[in-house]
């Protein structure tokens, strides 16, 4: 995966799950949201989002559905599966633990 140095391994997954927790979106909408939420600090190349999405889909955490909205091209809308919801909760807890641990180390020094 072509990683932006600002994206810690695994965080992209967490962020995608977070974004999809609110509502189903297309790939492009997810990338838009990613940029907005992080105030443009997280600069993953847009393309690298797709392998991540396909991986999450294969894992069964999100599901992609092709939808046709009046006359436009069909678009693929991703939504969170129940398994994805559980995964998100788990990863969020994991992240909280990890980041607090790292913060603790950084502050103690």
């Amino acid at each position: 995966m072509s990683k932006s140095p600002t994206l810690v391994q695994g965080t992209l997954t967490l962020l995608i799950l977070k974004i999809l927790e609110l509502e189903p979106r297309t790939g492009w909408a997810i990338s838009q949201r990613l940029r907005q939420m992080s105030n443009e600090t997280l600069q993953a190349s847009h393309g690298s989002l797709y392998p991540a999405l396909h991986k999450l889909e294969t894992e069964g955490w999100i599901r992609g559905k092709w939808q046709q909205s009046n006359g436009d091209r069909p678009t693929k809308i991703y939504s969170l599966t129940p398994a994805g919801r559980r995964q998100f909760a788990a990863e969020k807890a994991q992240w909280a633990k990890l980041s607090s641990a790292i913060n603790g180390i950084l502050e103690s020094v």
């Binding site: 790939g27 190349s45 690298s48 889909e57 069964g60 091209r73 599966t81």
Partner: protein
Amino acid sequence: MRRLQQLLLTLRAILFRSRVEREMEAELAAHLDAEACDLASHGLDPMEARRRAAATMGPVELIREECRDSRGTAFWDHFRHDTLFGLRLLFKNRTFAAMALATMALAIGSTTAVYSVFDGVLLRPLPFAAPERLYLADYLNLRGHFDVMRANSRLADYASYIGLETFNMRGSGFPERIQGAQVSANFFRVLGITPQFGRDFSSDADRAGAAHTVILNHAFWQQRYGARRDVLGQELVLDDVSYQIAGVMPDRFQFPSPDAAFWIPMTLDPTDIGAYWGISVCSTIVRLRDGVTRKAANAELRGWTPRVHGMFPWRMPDSWGVDIHLAPLRDEIVAGVRERSLLLMGAVALVLLIAIVNVANLMIGQTAARRAEFALRVSLGATPGRLARQLLTESLLLSVTGGILGTLLAFALLAMLKDLLPADTPRLAEVSIDRAIILFAAALSLGSGLLFGMLPAWRARAAVPAESPRTTHSRMGLRTDAALVTAEAAFATILLVGSGLLLHSFWTMLHVNPGFRVESVVTAQLSPDRTVTASLDKTVALSQAVREKLAAYPGVQSAAAMSHLPLAPDMAASSCAIEDHPRPPGAPQYVLWTTAVTPEVLDTLGIRLLQGRGIAAADTKTSDPVVLIGRTMAEKFWPNASPIGRRVRMVWEDRWRTIVGVVDNVKEYSLNGTPDWVDGDIYLPLTQATATPPNLALVARVANDPSALEQSLPNLTRQVCPTCAVSQIARMGTIVSAAAAAPRSLAWLVGGFAFIALVLAAAGIYGVVNHGVARRTRELGVRLALGASPSQVAWLVVQSSLLQVIAGAAAGLAASWALARLIASLLFGVGRHDPVSFLLPPVVLVAIGLLAGLLPMLRAARIDPAASLREG
């Protein structure tokens, strides 16, 4: 749920690859559109918006590749790629592909066909309910004994059958001979099978006085009755007794033999002492009840032996019954063919191994030619593992295609095999190529693909980009080639020695002196109806009338009748006491092979009289009983004296029979000689026979072409006896030849496999030598330029292969020396270390090796040194 989704998505990605690809493209395109739209809505020029969108997107090809990776189908994509590449390659190298495919198809086809027989005959459970609980009570073959066990066993159900018997079937016109089996009333119930329609025998059908019923074989019902359902209740007249048809068995039921056209109940009548306790003919099947072990049932059966011993109306030897035990029914049925089947399986496995070595050889030749390609690939970033995988895929492609062709071929080969195997091979009719066999062929194909793909794949890993494409061989490559040729020669030698032993043994058997005239003798079986066979006098009178009729036929020099022919399958052993040779009390008496004959038999069959006189017309029912004995018996019992005037006695008779003559040995039992348990051969006058023979064998020696007599025989006998059936009209030569059927088929089959092995080995050696010449063109050119003569160069290329062949042959001979033990029991008149069979194969192999190397040798000798140096 999640697992299911994963599985479905992966499957979809594999099966609908192009659709998934299209969707990915669409999704990426949609992203670009949306991004460009968004940028344009912020006031950018549409063209610029597109450019920017593409830039933020990143390298599309890389994204595509990563998307594919994240689907988890990279394995399959590579597989697909390698397969397509392999196919293109095979299509390009058609000669190579054709050779490899033909080799694999032949090898997998023959292995599959032989395995289907092996599996169907030896391995499959019998086609009965719960077959693992079925046993045969070995040595329990008296009706009375069976009846006692059936009535009293608490642990098992006992059923019984009498193997094939021949009956006169009365239809319209003259009677026909037809084979059927007598079975106990509960026979089908114990085997766990019911008639396809109609009803089973009633449980008292085997009691004296029960109504006569018959159950038909499915095939017989179809042929004879046109598969009509209204046969039930109809009459079938067998040996003048009318039977009512009760049912028809299903198609697959063919026990004890596919030749049994029908089953009738045997008679278990304790008041008929002779039949009930005396004639040992029936086989006893035992089905263990629920939860009963073989050990327990065995103990019960043996526990009854002393009690049954006491029930005999006469005193049995003390040793009677000690051998009785339960043996798995299937093993008993196929016991006679176990060794032959194993041998065939071994032979075909060797052919398969040679084929695998051959294809590995071809593949290595191919990969050597592709070294430049591999070096290029490695320098472009292919890992050695990836290269090996590609080669393995290519070889699997070959083996699977070869396997499919081979499986198709196996159907044809199995049909051939069924014709070639002796007709009395048990369960042969059950053998077919079904799903299990096809699975076996598939596993075999994959396995051999892996085997012959492994070497080239392993060697491809050594491809290094630094190696210049001009370097065309390595030391390791030469070593593997050498190993392959050696292995091939070794396997071929084992097959050649084995087939040599079997063929030599078969040849010896064909040339054994049977002790009687084989040429110009016509034989037939005459089966009188019961009104005749009920009395010995009538049978004797009939035999005389028929004999005279035959003798009067133009061209007939001599004609005779006898109770059975030599080498016939009839059981003709009698228990006899021999004067001067009393047996210890309790020990069984001598077993003598007994034939009742008319006086002309010695003359007609050319059996030599060594001492005394033959049987004369004066030996009648009322004259003193006389007997002729065979030479071996004379030498065994009276080594230093003349046996003439000594006497023998049938154990159930009071009168002694005087030996009046000694005849030369006749192969009465089989061409192999007499089994251990037979102590000698005797001949009685038909007039003094111990019992009326149910059939008469007619023999006639002719001066001219036997076919005229063969055609007239039925008519001639009908003139004398219209109610007699005539069957098995054959020349003596045919009968002797049929007696060697099993060794013949084995010798031909193994010989055939050895021939295939030889052809494959020749092709393999040709390939290696040829490949060697191509590889060494430059070197050979240099040698020629430096003054080597063409013949020296030619010798050089074939020399190493020849040494390998010799090494392989030596290894093969050593292995054969050890393996010969396994087939020793199948050999006749040939030692298992027969020098001819061991010396010939290496000579043949070296000759074949030279022959195979001839073309490449010529090519090497004709190399133009100047041209080869320029090219190099």
